[in-house]
């Protein structure tokens, strides 16, 4: 118990003193996951609209598949991205293995189903009368999509935040394709996973607290959105 207590005290000191290593790792985690979320959002927002607003055979099945992939194992994505982007792999020419870029690619793949699925659910949850009203008031297809997104904004936003939450908290993928390189691809989760095993408990605890704090902020945000 004393070990944990002392660790916690040191961890708090590390955070309060804005320890450069802790801050850099936390900042890098945020940056990588924010980039992944932004890219995934840029893909999912239009794609979600295309899927939601069009009728096509197999739509139901497609949505079911997307929902099944919500819980895509991070290590499965890690393995897939590793095989694709490793030098000997088909996309090895990019030369981005063991870099933040490949971590972003992996996180984008990982969170696209979740974001896409939640965006489609949010759009589906809007009243059919909203789209009817928009069309009857002379909205074009695009204008109708925009107003539907606007109406579904809290649900859509929740989807984006959930995607970010999944990206920043995953570890398997980042470890596999990022390599936990100090000063380059080390993120909160990979550092916790490796530093704990090296006995560097204080750093791991400090980072763990930051991650919990981020999760808390995300949850408060989500709750406030859902109360609207």
């Amino acid at each position: 118990m004393t070990e944990l207590w002392e660790g916690l005290v040191t961890a708090v000191k590390l955070i309060i003193s804005l320890d450069p290593e802790v801050m850099q790792i936390a900042g890098r985690s945020l940056a990588i996951s924010a980039t992944s979320s932004a890219i995934a959002a840029l893909i999912c927002l239009p794609l979600g609209a295309v899927i939601h607003f069009n009728r096509f055979p197999g739509k139901r099945t497609l949505i079911n598949i997307i929902q099944t992939l919500f819980s895509l194992p991070t290590v499965a994505v890690g393995l897939f991205v590793f095989v694709m982007f490793s030098s000997a792999g088909p996309l090895g020419g990019f030369g981005i293995m063991f870099s933040p870029a490949v971590m972003v690619v992996g996180q984008v793949v990982l969170i696209i189903p979740l974001m896409l699925g939640l965006i489609i659910s949010a759009l589906s949850a809007t009243d059919k009368a909203i789209t009817d009203t928009a069309v009857s008031l002379g909205a074009s297809g695009f204008q109708m999509s925009v107003i539907t997104f606007r109406e579904a904004r809290f649900g859509v936003l929740a989807g984006l935040i959930m995607g970010f939450g999944r990206a920043i908290s995953e570890v398997g993928l980042s470890l596999m394709v990022g390599g936990n390189i100090r000063g380059f691809t080390r993120t909160i989760t990979t550092a916790i996973s490796l530093e704990t095993s090296k006995g560097d408990l204080e750093l791991a605890l400090a980072l763990g607290m930051i991650l919990i704090f981020i999760a808390l902020v995300i949850n408060i945000g989500l709750n406030r959105i859902q109360q609207r």
Binding site: G27, T35, A38, F98, L160, N180
Partner: protein, 319 residues
């Protein structure tokens, strides 16, 4: 909430990512690193014991300064390091399993292997030593562990790396020397635990379980100091315990993107007097004895020939 919330959030996400990527390589801002060329990234995959003891934390900034590169060190057991090397995902590897190193070179994946440090393995276990291995040779100790483990798997356990690392390879070698078939051992019962982790984590796991474990002395000492291990060293000083580390450059003829110039420079630097000196004293202040030995002092059976560490690797001139 105001209008265009989503756009604002999106813009925010993009902005944050742009800011951070505009800050370029995040490493630039890290206080402990001087400025290097962030575009030149030199990647090595290293055996876990050298990492867990902190040696790379010590060496990394010196080489980065020297070569003006960003050095990316990836934590990987020998098996995985060799696989990264085969796939061309790194520029050099640091490993410790002679048999597989030779195969790696013969297959054309690596060139310019040089040994640069050594130490020894040991077998650690609970102080009470329920299997009674103290004073045995390595083979005898393993045989006793096997028998005791089968009889009383609740008291006697052995934690294996189980990750195809150099340490794991050495363990298999000892089992076969003791006359066992390894496949039989690993399936013989719950006394034999496969961790699938690096050296440090495996040690911590054995410590938690009050189990026997085979480790290199350096990692054992480092963790004993840092985490106060309850398990103690029981068997040492068997010639089979000799553990020699090697650096290998990835063959640019197999993987054209491998940074052979930096890798060569790195390997020559490792065998240079400067680094050999650092190795001879690394850890002395903290542990009362150095964690590794410079390769030049190796003079027992199993040590590499002198040219494996004295001959600088030639400059790569292309094919």
């Amino acid at each position: 909430m105001k209008r265009k919330t989503i756009l604002v959030i999106l813009a925010g996400l993009v902005l944050v990512s742009l800011l951070v990527s505009a800050a370029g390589c995040p490493a630039k801002t890290e206080s402990q690193y001087p400025l290097h060329d962030p575009m030149v990234r030199f990647k090595i995959a290293t055996t876990t014991s050298l990492y867990d003891t902190g040696l790379w934390y010590h060496l990394e900034p010196i080489f980065e300064e020297l070569a003006n590169v960003e050095m990316d060190i990836i934590y990987a057991g020998t098996g995985i390091a060799l696989e990264y090397g085969r796939r061309g995902d790194v520029d050099a590897i640091i490993v410790h399993d002679r048999a597989r190193e030779d195969m790696f070179l013969a297959d054309g994946y690596g060139i310019n292997r040089r040994n640069f440090a050594y130490n020894f393995f040991l077998i650690a276990g609970p102080e009470s030593d329920p299997a009674g291995i103290t004073g045995s040779t390595a083979s005898e100790a393993f045989e006793k562990l096997y028998n005791a483990g089968l009889n009383d798997p609740d008291t006697v356990k052995f934690v294996s790396r189980g990750d195809d690392s150099g340490t794991h390879a050495k363990e298999k070698l000892i089992w076969s020397q003791a006359g066992f078939d390894y496949e039989e051992i690993r399936n013989s019962g719950k006394w034999y635990v496969e961790a699938g982790k690096g050296m440090g984590p495996t040690l911590l796991m054995a410590n938690e379980m009050q189990a026997y474990v085979m480790a290199d002395i350096s990692t054992f000492l480092a963790y004993n100091l840092k985490s106060g291990l309850d398990i103690v060293s029981l068997v040492e000083e068997d010639p089979i315990f000799l553990n020699v580390y090697a650096a290998i450059a990835i063959n640019p003829e197999t993987h054209s993107k491998a940074r052979i110039d930096i890798a060569n420079r790195f390997i020559n630097w490792l065998i240079s007097a400067e680094v050999q000196d650092i190795i001879s004293t690394y850890g002395e202040a903290e542990y009362g004895r150095p964690l590794f030995f410079p390769i030049a002092g190796c003079d027992m059976p199993g040590c590499p020939p002198v040219e494996d560490y004295t001959l600088p690797v030639p400059e790569y001139t292309g094919s």
